[in-house]
Structure formats: structure tokens, C-alpha cells
């Protein structure tokens, strides 16, 4: 109940500030661009294959959907810190955090409410990119199940980045710092995946495991892998747990 109240308040302030619209506008622009490129190269490749006499039809899901979804995940790396930056930093700067903390609310209710609001905004953003994919049905019959799983993967990945972004926001009273820190965390969790291409010792595999991008691959292929889902869910818990600790710190740092 309290979670719902906090969540509603956050959503209404998102849509009253230019943040939500700005983020959504650029997201729509960029995903549209990626979709165009993916479709264009798919059509060009298809033409070439047809001219060379290949009878095997090309898979739309493999060529367009998967490539778009993995690009959307990368855009999320840049967009999520902008969504989370104000969550706690703004309340700390204006002093409204005192209202929340001195109200009969548990910390976890405040944190969960804010995070859920951020996830809803992110989901709304993702649904814009869905328009592109729906247009595919005008020309062909891509299968919808892999798309759904792909979006589920993006939502889980987004939830994980939003939880870590909340943590960054709870650490500071400056939104810019929160945004930069959130982006830094995301970027780090992206590039750590690259080490796994070096060799396959225990260390590189462990570090590579932390990559939030690699774990989306299975979802983008349309495979629901519980291992990857578990990774994201545990990262979400970690992010929200750290947010809670950061919020508690205002009690002794102040």
C-alpha cells in the first residue's frame, strides 16, 4: 500500500518533469534508427541470397529482432542513470527525505516504491521500441514468443541497472553525480564481459560472469534461461540492498 503511494508519487513527478519525455524521445529516435539499419541490412542480404539462388529463407527474428533487442540493451546503459538520478538525490537536496523518513514508513517501502516507478517508466520506454517490431507483422510473420522473452530479458536487465542507479542516487545529494556514478557502474558491468574472450581461467570467467550484457544474450535469442534470470534477480536484490544501506547512512553521517 505504502509502496503503491510512493510509486504513484514518483511516476507523477517523472511525467511532470522533462526527464521522462526527453528520455523517451531520444530512446524512440535511437531505436527507430537501429531498427531501420537492421531491417535494411536484412532486406539487402535477403535480396542477395535470392539472387544467388539460395532457397533457405532468412529468419526475421534472428536478423532483425535479435539485433534490435541487443542494441536496445546497450541504449539502456545510457538511459537508466538518467531515470534514477533524481530518485533520492533530489529528496536529499530539498530536504523532503526528512518527510519520508519521519513518516511511519519502512525504508524498504520507500526504496521499493521508487524502484518500481523507475521500472514502470523503463517499461514504458521499451514499449515504444515495440512499435517498430509490430510493423514487421505488416510484411511477414516473425514469431512473437522470442520477442516476448527478449523483452523480458531487457526488463530484467533494466531493473538491475535501475537498482544500481538507485544506489548511486542514494549516495549523493547531487543529481549529476548520481547520473555519472550510475553510468560508471553500468559501463563497468558491461565491459567486464570482454575479459571472457581473453582466456577461460577461473578469474576471467568469474569476472566475465558479472557482465549485465552477456546475460541478456540468451533472452535475445528467445531462450528463457533460469541461470540468467537468477543473475538479474540477484543483482536487483543487491542493488536495492545497497540503496537501503546508503539510505541508512544519512542517519549517522547527516
Amino acid at each position: 500500500m505504502n509502496v503503491f503511494t510512493i510509486c504513484r508519487k514518483e511516476l507523477s513527478s517523472y511525467f511532470r518533469s522533462p526527464i521522462a519525455y526527453g528520455v523517451m524521445f531520444f530512446f524512440a529516435l535511437i531505436t527507430g534508427y537501429f531498427f531501420y539499419i537492421a531491417t535494411y541490412s536484412f532486406v539487402a542480404q535477403g535480396m542477395r541470397a535470392a539472387m544467388m539462388g539460395q532457397s533457405q529463407p532468412m529468419d526475421v527474428n534472428e536478423w532483425v529482432v535479435r539485433s534490435l533487442l541487443s542494441n536496445v540493451g546497450v541504449i539502456g546503459l545510457f538511459m537508466t542513470p538518467m531515470i534514477t538520478m533524481r530518485l533520492f538525490a533530489e529528496e536529499k537536496r530539498t530536504g523532503t527525505i526528512e518527510l519520508l523518513v519521519t513518516s511511519p514508513l519502512h525504508d524498504w517501502e520507500i526504496i521499493l516504491g521508487k524502484w518500481v516507478a523507475a521500472v514502470i517508466l523503463y517499461a514504458a520506454m521499451l514499449s515504444i521500441s515495440l512499435i517498430n517490431l509490430v510493423s514487421l507483422y505488416l510484411y511477414g510473420k516473425p514469431s512473437w514468443k522470442p520477442m516476448l522473452i527478449g523483452y523480458l530479458g531487457l526488463l530484467l536487465q533494466g531493473g538491475c541497472m535501475l537498482a544500481l542507479g538507485s544506489f548511486a542516487s542514494a549516495c549523493t545529494r547531487n543529481q549529476i553525480v548520481a547520473c555519472v556514478a550510475g553510468f560508471g557502474i553500468n559501463l563497468l558491468l558491461w565491459v567486464v564481459g570482454w575479459v571472457s574472450s581473453l582466456d577461460s581461467t577461473v578469474i576471467t570467467r568469474t569476472v566475465g560472469y558479472l557482465s549485465i550484457v552477456d546475460h541478456v544474450d540468451s533472452f535475445s535469442k528467445g531462450v528463457l534461461d533460469s541461470k540468467d534470470a537468477f543473475f538479474f534477480i540477484s543483482m536487483i536484490f543487491l542493488g536495492l540492498f545497497l540503496t537501503g544501506r546508503a539510505m541508512e547512512s544519512i542517519r549517522w553521517r547527516a
Binding site: 505504502n2 530536504g95 542517519r251
Partner: protein
């Protein structure tokens, strides 16, 4: 209603609140008086469960702040120094939000919001964005937020800071109107404010409790001796300034009831003094007579109130011999804005 025992807040480098103990009875308005940085806000933040104390304990409405903070939070209304409002929200929307998180039953909420808006005189701006309201209105929205769930205890941190004199009067009236239903603690660094609103006063300085007393008691103790500012000039200018100064000083000291005379400044052969009376003596008529009879011009004769700094000095040095105070007093009188008391229309300075 509020019981504080040995409350302490220690930070890494300094002690913000040092073993403070006091009690507040139900329905009282208590002023929390102290200069900036005395530890008022920290104490209030501990009482509202915003931060835990390092040591000691406190009980609000029968619940311990450490053991059952949720119960305490339900029974406390808190207005921090800057009102905790969301500028992008409308007033009514904000009160709706606060009502929900404070646990006001949903069925009662619209009625309760209307009542509170009436009480705080903000009904006319109910559909305005809070960010576009004036400071006075925003303060009253903050106050409305604090009383919305009808709490037993109200904690107000500097409720009149940053307001203009008219708004200060309105806010004071409002707070006085809330007494009785609620037990109120309000902090301030302005003495007349305490006199205007509170029944009891708790004075703290540098994190330590200096005094706790009823306002009537405290003021009589402080007004017992009168401070008078006198400006004297010779009738014919051009006479020897130094001689004149000593003559006037001696004359003033001889007036009956005067305990000490401090020379403050000389300007264009005019001399300004601060004269302090003995306990319970009215010295202004005698001072005036003495000056006129000596053939000097009396340019100014005015009773000056005690500033907060002087009160602290008096309260903390009461056991010391008189000359110890005299040595420190001049510097304090010069820096203190003692005229502030007369502008707000209270009775600190004017004892006539």
C-alpha cells in the same frame, strides 16, 4: 508526553548534543532556544526518529524512539527548517500524499485535508503548484503537513525563519491556536518568539542544556535589572572631550540604583553609555534628571533588551562575581541586534 534522558549525539569530530534531559507535559508549548549550531535541530531529528542518538534515550507519547520508532512516527508531526514540500505538486495533491504515508484512514482524508487547510489558511491556494507559492504560504503548507494526521506531538524547527514580519505574526497565531490539542516543541534563536508563544523554555548552547524554566520566570529573572542606553552631549561644543567623558561617567554612576556604567562610543563629542540598574530598580527618570540638571543635552535615553547572547552569559555565569560579567559584556552588547525585540512588538525591551 515527551521524556528525554541523557540524549547524546556524537559525530566523528564533535559532540552535537551532550547529555540533554528534559520533560514536556501534555498540551504544553515549549520553546527550544539556542544560538545557531547549539544542537536544536539534531535533538529534534533524534526525537522524530530521523537519526538515532549515540547515547541516552527518549520517550515520545509513551513510546521509546529506539524500540518502537514506528509508533513514535505515527504520533509526531514534524516541520523541518525548510518545509519538506515537492514544488511540482499541487497543495491538495501534496496533502493527499502526506495523508496516505502518515496512515490517515482513506475515508477521513478529504475531510481532514479540508479542516487542515482551513486551519492553516491555505484553502485559497489548494490547486496551486507549491513551487509557485510565496515563502509564507509554503511554510503554512509545511505546517498543514505536520498536523494532518492529528499527532499528539508537534515538532517545529524554526517555524518562522525566513518569513517577513507579517507572516511571522500569522504563523505565531496559528501555532498558538494549535496548543492544547497538541504538545508542541518549537525551536528558535529569537527570544521574543519564545515569549510570544511558549509557556516553558529549554535553553541549550553548544549541545548542553543551560536552563529549563517557565517563560514568566525566566523573563522576570532577566528583566529584574534594566539596561539603558544613554547618549549625552555637552551644551556648548568644543569643550574638552576627555574631561566631559569622565564627568558624565561619574555623574551617571552616582545616580541611585545604578549598578554599572559602560562607555560605548564617542562620536562628534557625543558620548554613548550603557547603564545597568540594580535588581528591580527603575532608573530612567533619575538618569534623565541627573543629566538635565548637570546642564548637558540628553540626546537619547532608551531601554535595551537583553539579547540571546547576553541571556546565555547571564545564565551561564550567574555564579560568577559581577565584574567577571562586566569584562565580557561590552563586546556582546555591540554585536547583538537588541533592537530586534522592539520591532516585533513584544515586551522584551520596553518595560514601561
Amino acid at each position: 508526553m515527551i521524556k528525554v534522558e541523557g540524549l547524546t549525539k556524537r559525530y566523528a569530530r564533535n559532540v552535537a548534543v551532550d547529555h540533554i534531559s528534559f520533560q514536556v507535559e501534555k498540551g504544553q508549548i515549549v520553546g527550544f532556544l539556542g544560538p545557531n549550531g547549539a544542537g536544536k535541530t539534531t535533538t529534534m531529528r533524534m526525537l522524530t526518529c530521523f537519526m538515532p542518538p549515540t547515547d541516552g534515550s527518549a520517550e515520545v507519547a509513551g513510546f521509546d524512539i529506539l524500540e518502537s520508532p514506528m509508533e513514535v512516527k505515527k504520533r509526531i508531526g514534524y516541520l523541518p527548517e525548510s518545509p519538506p514540500v515537492y514544488p511540482e505538486m499541487e497543495v491538495i495533491e501534496y496533502l493527499n500524499f502526506v495523508g496516505r504515508i502518515k496512515g490517515v484512514p482513506k475515508a477521513n482524508l478529504p475531510k481532514r485535508i479540508n479542516e487542515v487547510m482551513e486551519k492553516c489558511a491555505i484553502a485559497d491556494v489548494r490547486n496551486k503548484e507549491i513551487g509557485k507559492l510565496s515563502k509564507g504560504y509554503r511554510q503554512r503548507v509545511g505546517l498543514a503537513q505536520a498536523i494532518l494526521h492529528n499527532p499528539d506531538v508537534l515538532i517545529l524547527d524554526e517555524p518562522t525563519s525566513g518569513l517577513d514580519p507579517h507572516q511571522i505574526m500569522e504563523t505565531r497565531d496559528l501555532i498558538r491556536g494549535l496548543a492544547g490539542d497538541h504538545t508542541i516543541i518549537l525551536s528558535t534563536h529569537i527570544l521574543p518568539e519564545v515569549e510570544a508563544m511558549c509557556e516553558r523554555v529549554i535553553i541549550i548552547a553548544k549541545g548542553k542544556l543551560v536552563a529549563t524554566d517557565t517563560v514568566a520566570h525566566l523573563t522576570s529573572r532577566l528583566h529584574g535589572s534594566e539596561m539603558v542606553s544613554v547618549e549625552v552631549a555637552p551644551r556648548s561644543p568644543g569643550s574638552d572631550g576627555q574631561v566631559f567623558l569622565t564627568q558624565v561617567q561619574q555623574k551617571l554612576e552616582q545616580v541611585a540604583g545604578v549598578s554599572r556604567v559602560l562607555h560605548k562610543e564617542s562620536k562628534d563629542s557625543r558620548e554613548r553609555f550603557t547603564v545597568e540598574s540594580l535588581q528591580g530598580r527603575q532608573i530612567r527618570p533619575e538618569l534623565a534628571r541627573a543629566i538635565i540638571e548637570s546642564g548637558w543635552n540628553l540626546n537619547e535615553l532608551r531601554s535595551v533588551g537583553l539579547s540571546l547572547e547576553e541571556i546565555f552569559l547571564q545564565l551561564t555565569t550567574e555564579h560568577k562575581p559581577d565584574d567577571a560579567i562586566a569584562a565580557e559584556a561590552p563586546a556582546l552588547i555591540e554585536t547583538s541586534p537588541s533592537s530586534g525585540s522592539s520591532t516585533s512588538g513584544s515586551s522584551t525591551g520596553e518595560s514601561q
